[in-house]
């Protein structure tokens, strides 16, 4: 395990490291959900987390923007750094952190507000817009980047909950990128979507790679293979293998990875 990480590090020196996790442990009460995970996530890359259900993918993802703080019984130890700053440092305000590390959830969760207000919500609370015109511009840009502008530009003030599932999820992505995050975490963003909507979102993720470091949890091996450059395989709370996506899917080192890829465990 140790030397695997060494190897990774050597490989990734060409790319900037955005997130560096070291010896992360997560407990839900007595339940040890993440066991000593260390990983380095590169900037401007899509990183996929795969693994069987309950192995701790979501849990680890939620550590990166401290969403786990909202769960009373959850305890995180170890060290996670973004741009070399410890995000669990007592001086760090999770609110500021989450502005920098956006998140998209498994089920589309638009607020029961208009489409416009959904996207404008983040910029408003973070004070990113100086004026109404500014805000309009931010909203439009986010919706365009979310690849949904053309579908909603005529009904910006209709409720966001009235959109189709795929549209809702793209709206949520647009909402997340409207706050100009640097990292985008996506927890199974396509699991509630049909294949067409999934294709649209995957396309979007590929574009987002230009500007962001994207981490995506997925249950679909094909999806991981399609959208990601790096893949991490979790099993029972352990990070089993972390390497270039091609390598994981063609030539995995760990037998557990192999059996998962070939559908024997999970």
């Amino acid at each position: 395990m140790e030397d695997m990480i060494q190897m990774d590090r050597a490989m990734s020196t060409q790319q900037d490291i955005k997130i560096r996790a070291n010896g992360v442990q997560v407990y839900y009460g007595e339940n040890h959900a993440i066991k000593d995970v260390s990983v380095e996530i590169q900037d401007k890359t899509v990183t996929a987390f795969i693994g069987p259900s309950g192995c701790g993918k979501s849990t680890f993802l939620r550590c990166i923007n401290r969403m786990n703080d909202t769960i009373d019984i959850c305890r995180v130890t170890g060290d996670i750094r973004i741009d070399d700053e410890d995000i669990y440092d007592p001086r760090v305000d999770p609110v500021q952190l989450r502005a920098k590390v956006g998140m998209v959830f498994q089920k589309p969760n638009p607020f029961p507000k208009s489409i416009y207000d959904n996207v404008a919500y983040g910029p408003k609370i973070h004070g990113l817009a100086a004026s109404k015109a500014d805000l309009d511009e931010i909203v439009e840009k986010a919706l365009r980047r979310g690849a949904i502008w053309d579908e909603v530009k005529d009904r910006l003030h209709a409720p966001g909950t009235g959109l189709s599932g795929g549209q809702q999820q793209r709206l949520c992505i647009a909402r997340a990128i409207a706050t100009e995050p640097e990292v985008l975490l996506m927890d199974e963003p396509c699991s509630a979507l049909d294949p067409i909507a999934t294709a649209q979102v995957e396309e979007l993720i590929d574009e987002l790679r230009q500007n962001y470091s994207v981490v995506i949890v997925t249950h679909s091996m094909q999806q991981a293979a399609r959208v990601s450059q790096r893949t991490a395989f979790f099993h029972l709370g352990n990070l089993v293998e972390y390497a270039d996506t091609d390598k994981i899917f063609t030539n995995p080192e760990d037998p557990r990875t192999e059996s998962y890829i070939s559908g024997r465990i999970g």
């Binding site: 009373d72 500021q96 989450r98 998140m103 969760n109 607020f111 507000k113």
Partner: protein
């Protein structure tokens, strides 16, 4: 220990006894029927229950049911119909001319009933014999009845006495007939069911059909209750509007019932009462809604599990305290306290408050009473907002309060509006706090430290005073009651619709 002389009870007790006797006999027949029916069924198959269509106890139950149920239904029907028949027969005896100015046939009828009841009481207490009671003339009657503790207001006229005698006579015959018919019905039911007890008889199906009828009847009581409320309100209100113009009731700005008790000179406008009601409810909501809402927000969004598990039951304790306690708290504690601050020589020296009872007193205490109501409803509603909404907002870097204010509350708004409407309906219908804490004077004033009165408080005072039941001063309470019923029902229906819609949104 001194025992007060007991207020003599009218002929009621005897009447009740005979009803109780009938009931006992019918139930006794049922019990006997159960055992006999069961035994007969078993006897028919030589003691081997396998030969029966149903279990033996169903045959017993069938006999008991047939004996008891029709008889009881008859009894209830009889108890309802007999007074109506007698009343209409007797009131037919009173000539139009006997109804004096400022009186009404129903007033006279209540005199008739009182005389009749008084005579019954006199006979049952042994003050006079039945024969004496029949021969009594109108001059002696008042005295005789005073002797058994029945006070009569006006003098008894010959017509009244004759009517009263007729009333007694009919009631007597009716009671005898009642006993015969009802016990007869029980016996017939018994006999028929007993005769039908054969091994092939499908006793279980029959009994189950009977039980089903009972279940349906029980469920229908809800409808009957509503019907009872509506009818009793409507009948008496119509009666009231015959004696007092409806336009005055709805639009007059003054409430000033005369105390003579028998009509004339009363001003019975609902508006000052409505004003008091709404003013007090408004203040109550002003207290309860912010406190209740913030308490709910804190408990459902911020409080740790342990704080929640302590604070929530404590809040519910406030909800479990009877309103009489709040009434007393208003009258004896909050009122005097407010006077000390806002009264004549009060701490502020403002002299806004004359006495302890005031809109503010009642409103404040009612607000305290409503806090747990608002908070537990809001708590439910806030908890119904899906966690995904919170995650979505927090994930964007919103603070918790921003999430609550800008995402959760707007999402929960319809539900919270519904909760507030329900609380308003509670406030409007609340009685004890205003009876004790608000004052008795009907007043159209803006000063929240003035004593005012409410619809509910006046319902109580008009129906517990000395005024005759048939006078407009008493009947107005029913008109007030129907207004209250309509207002609260409207609020409840709207609130429930909103809340249901809201719940469905997140199903």
């Amino acid at each position: 220990m001194i025992r007060q002389v007991r207020v003599a009870q009218s002929g009621m007790a005897g009447d009740q006894m005979s009803n109780a006797m009938i009931l006992l006999i019918v139930l006794g027949l049922g019990a006997v029927g159960y055992f006999l029916g069961r035994r007969r069924a078993l006897a028919k198959v030589g003691g081997d229950p396998r030969g029966l269509h149903s279990l033996p106890r169903y045959y017993g139950a069938n006999v008991a049911m047939n004996a008891v149920v029709p008889a009881l239904v008859l009894l209830v029907g009889w108890l309802i119909i007999q007074p109506i028949v007698i009343n209409s027969a007797v009131s037919g005896m009173i000539p139009e001319s006997a109804v004096s100015e400022g009186s009404s046939i129903s007033l006279l009828m209540s005199d008739v009933r009182r005389v009749a009841d008084g005579l019954d009481a006199a006979v049952s207490q042994g003050v006079m014999t039945e024969a004496e009671a029949l021969r009594l003339d109108e001059d002696a009657v008042k005295e005789a009845l005073a002797g058994v503790g029945v006070a009569l207001g006006a003098d008894v006229t010959a017509e009244t006495l004759a009517a009263a005698q007729r009333y007694r006579e009919m009631a007597g015959t009716g009671n005898v007939l009642k006993a015969i018919v009802i016990i007869g019905a029980a016996l017939i039911g018994f006999a028929v069911a007993f005769g039908r007890t054969t091994p092939d008889f499908r006793a279980r199906n029959v009994v189950e059909r009977g039980v089903m009828m009972v279940l349906i009847a029980a469920a229908s009581i809800a409808i009957l209750t509503t019907l009872g409320i509506v009818l009793s309100l409507i009948f008496n209100t119509v009666e009231f509007f015959r004696l007092y113009p409806a336009s005055q009731f709805f639009f007059s700005l003054s409430w000033n019932p005369s105390f003579s008790g028998r009509g004339g000179g009363s001003e019975l406008g609902i508006l000052p009462l409505l004003w008091g009601t709404l003013y007090i409810s408004f203040i109550a909501l002003l207290v309860a809604v912010p406190i209740g809402l913030f308490a709910a927000i804190y408990l459902s969004e911020y409080a740790s599990k342990s704080v929640r598990s302590v604070a929530k039951p404590l809040l519910e304790l406030l909800a479990g305290i009877p309103t009489i306690v709040y009434g007393l708290f208003a009258l004896l504690t909050v009122g005097p306290l407010l006077v000390q601050v806002f009264g004549d020589d009060g701490a502020l020296g403002v002299d806004w408050m004359q006495g302890g009872t005031a809109v503010m007193t009642a409103g404040l205490v009612m607000g305290i009473m409503l806090i747990p109501f608002v908070s537990s409803l809001s708590d439910d509603i806030i908890n119904a907002v899906p966690q995904a909404m919170r995650d979505g907002s927090l994930g964007l870097g919103a603070t918790h309060s921003e999430t609550v204010r800008q995402v959760i509350l707007p999402a929960a708004l319809p539900g919270i509006v519904g909760a507030i409407l329900l609380a308003a309906s509670r406030a409007i219908g609340e009685t004890m706090i205003v009876v004790l804490g608000a004052g008795a004077a009907a007043r159209l004033s803006m000063n929240p430290f003035d004593a005012m009165t409410t619809v509910t408080a006046k319902i109580v005072s008009q129906l517990t005073g000395d005024s005759d039941f048939a006078s407009p001063e008493a009947l107005v309470a029913f008109a007030l009651g129907i207004s209250l019923f309509v207002i609260t029902l409207g609020l409840n229906v709207i609130a429930m619709m909103i809340v249901r819609k809201y719940r469905e949104q997140y199903e």
